[in-house]
């Protein structure tokens, strides 16, 4: 187990910068998720931690020691890939045992069985990877990554290839295992749900830079930037250029953010015309035409009450509005208020 720190980490490729000035400290035993769209530099960061890529500049510290020049095989890092990367010519047991070939271990067999038990694959040890389902391969990959008691566990989109139900159970499973072992874990994902449900902290990246680091609630309720606000949340937040005739807000506000579920139907409020209704199971998403513009609005019901062209009145709590300046930075402690004129 280790405390991991990145200091001004940077990776340049021939034509582009993949990771730009990333600094973060990850506590011993912490579970950090790196979240971002594809091409944001999250996997490059992960591969630099693993020692597969060399950073262009900056430092990678494990427990205070610089490991930039330490070879991948000597870093004691466990890694699970999206493709699982199991060795096809070896049995499950041989796959799990593989890392112990290169480490002095007396009780390799016993440990392999312990790991197999931990990830619940004891009855599959004799099989080949090609004879396993995706979820089972995933567990084998996890056992292989954990057998050498790594300083750091890296998970590269580990759930992307699983179906929805399996993903749900593996999410909890991975969380349980990492907690049980207390291993410092970094998860790379483009799936916000994966990041927010599994991690202690989420680091949101875009275009090689850190946009925000914080808890799931921080990112959702207090997004630092326009990008984070737009990236987190489904259905996505309403981002609207504010109309100062109907809203009172600070002068430097350039964009107003309003979560679809922040809107609610009320006796008094701005008039809204329903444009479309999309039932989503537990709730329904509607698009409504309001004095603020077209907004996404969530009605918390499985049986939508409204139909297109219905008229209703909507309001929201001022505290639920999120304001951004021209640079896309959140204006702290500032909120918008609906003017009386909006009610007409």
């Amino acid at each position: 187990m280790a405390e991991v720190e990145l200091r001004n980490l940077r990776k340049d490729w021939d034509t582009a910068t993949a990771v730009d000035d990333v600094s973060i400290k990850i506590e011993n035993g912490e579970f950090l998720a790196i979240l971002g769209p594809s091409g944001c530099g999250k996997s490059t960061t992960l591969f630099m931690l693993a020692g597969v890529y060399l950073p262009t500049s900056g430092d990678i510290m494990f427990d205070g020691a610089r490991v930039n020049d330490v070879e991948a095989r000597l870093r004691n890092v466990g890694i699970v890939f999206q493709s699982y990367a199991l060795y096809p010519n070896m049995s499950v047991l041989q796959n799990i045992l593989f890392p112990t070939r290169f480490q002095k271990t007396d009780d390799a067999q016993a440990r392999a069985h312990e790991m197999a038990e931990l990830v619940q694959i004891t009855d599959l040890l004799g099989r080949r990877p090609s004879e396993l389902s995706g979820g089972q391969q995933q567990r084998v990959a996890l056992a292989r990554a954990l057998i050498k008691r790594p300083n750091l566990l890296l998970l590269d989109e580990p759930l992307s290839n699983l179906d929805a139900t399996l993903r749900l159970s593996m999410r909890a499973e991975i969380r349980r295992i990492t907690r049980e072992l207390g291993v410092t874990t970094i998860l790379v994902t483009h799936d916000q749900l994966e990041a927010t449900t599994m991690a202690d902290r989420v680091m949101c990246m875009n275009k090689g830079r850190i946009e925000q680091v914080g808890s799931a609630a921080d990112l959702y309720l207090r997004p630092d930037t326009l990008f984070v606000a737009g990236f987190i949340g489904s259905p996505p937040i309403n981002l609207i250029p504010p109309d100062r005739d109907v809203l009172s807000l600070p002068d430097r506000c350039h964009t107003l953010g309003l979560r679809p579920e922040a809107l609610r139907v009320s006796e008094v409020g701005m008039p809204a015309t329903v444009l479309s209704v999309e039932p989503m199971g537990r709730e329904a998403m509607m698009t409504v035409d309001t004095p603020l513009g077209d907004l996404r609005f969530i009605e918390a019901t499985a049986q939508p009450k409204y139909r297109p062209r219905d008229l209703l009145r909507l309001t929201f709590d001022n505290a639920d509005t999120i304001l951004f300046d021209a640079k896309g930075q959140r204006i702290p402690e500032a909120h918008a208020t609906l003017k009386e004129t909006a009610y007409a």
Binding site: R73, L74, I79, F81, A85, N89, F98, P99, R144
Partner: protein
């Protein structure tokens, strides 16, 4: 027969027809002709006088004390053992081992350098056989004009005459240098098709380059290696053009295929013994079939051919 069945049959015939025709004309008919001619006395006049087993009598003679009731005559025995040495050595040293080393090293180099290196090894394949043969003749020229002797002399060593002193080594080298490139290409593409993540995973698991080669790369090359072994051993068994171009009809390198060629088609050196050549070729076909089946079993090719080897992940 319903119209749709008829159409299916016609389609099958149209689709497979050319390939079948090709096989029948260029493979089946020649084998049958060879089989028939082998049991005649056909010679320069290309006429069949009588059906006889005389030709086989030139190759083996009855000996009640021998294990199978006959023994091989000297020239035939020489040709058989020369063929075996030639095929096994070329295959083991060059077409498999050296091809593997080339593939492993050139894939480890930076792309442009590896590509350049492979291109150099491919060049003999692009050159016409005669040019390649002539180059070898220049390399092993017994005078001080030969490349090899120039090098030996530069190091203060005595010049050698490979054609006279090491003829089998010479034909193994000449065939190996050109033959290794096929294995190199197949193995290179197999190494390239190993998912990159496997290498990353192995590195993170603590494996060094040698362990990665042993545990990740070599297992992935099992099937291509089997294929190369089977394919190349068969083609070596019947190849004679470089032997003929470099050594001519020398007794020291008279393999089975060379023997068959010189007895029938090679001009001016005792050719025209068609029935005799046919008998030798018949035996060669038999050896080819047996060794193909043996290798097929030995390398478990059946599994390669019946089950997809690509693992979808």
């Amino acid at each position: 027969m319903t119209p749709s069945n008829t159409r299916q049959a016609t389609n099958a015939l149209l689709f497979l027809g050319p390939a079948c025709l090709f096989l029948v004309c260029l493979l089946l008919i020649p084998i049958i002709v060879d089989l028939v001619v082998a049991f005649t006395d056909m010679s320069q006049t290309v006429r069949v006088g009588e059906f006889t087993t005389d030709q086989f009598g030139k190759l083996v003679k009855a000996n009640p004390e021998a294990l199978l009731g006959f023994e091989l005559r000297g020239s035939f025995y020489r040709a058989l053992s020369l063929s075996a040495v030639y095929v096994v050595c070329t295959l083991a040293i060059f077409n498999v081992t050296f091809a593997l080393i080339l593939a492993l090293t050139t894939t480890a180099l930076p792309d442009w350098l590896g590509g350049l290196y492979r291109a150099i090894w491919l060049m003999p394949r692009m050159a016409p056989s005669v040019v390649y043969g002539l180059l070898w003749l220049w390399v092993v020229d017994p005078t001080d004009r030969g490349l090899l002797n120039q090098i030996l002399l530069a190091f203060g060593l005595d010049p050698i005459n490979m054609k006279l002193d090491a003829p089998v080594t010479l034909i193994v080298f000449a065939n190996g240098f050109i033959g290794a490139s096929l294995g190199m290409l197949i193995l290179t593409s197999s190494i390239r098709s190993i998912p990159q993540h496997l290498f990353y995973a192995a590195r993170a698991d603590g494996a060094g380059s040698l362990s990665i080669t042993r545990h990740i790369v070599l297992p992935a090359l099992r099937w291509p290696l089997s294929y190369i072994t089977v394919f190349q051993s068969l083609s070596l068994l019947v190849s004679f053009e470089y032997i003929f171009l470099i050594m001519g009809p020398a007794r020291s390198t008279m393999t089975m295929s060379m023997l068959a060629y010189t007895k029938t088609l090679a001009p001016g050196i005792g050719s025209g013994q068609y029935a005799y050549g046919a008998a030798i070729t018949l035996i060669l076909i038999g050896i080819g079939m047996v060794s193909a089946l043996l290798l097929y079993r030995l390398t478990n090719m059946k599994r390669l051919l019946t089950r997809p080897r690509i693992e979808v992940q």
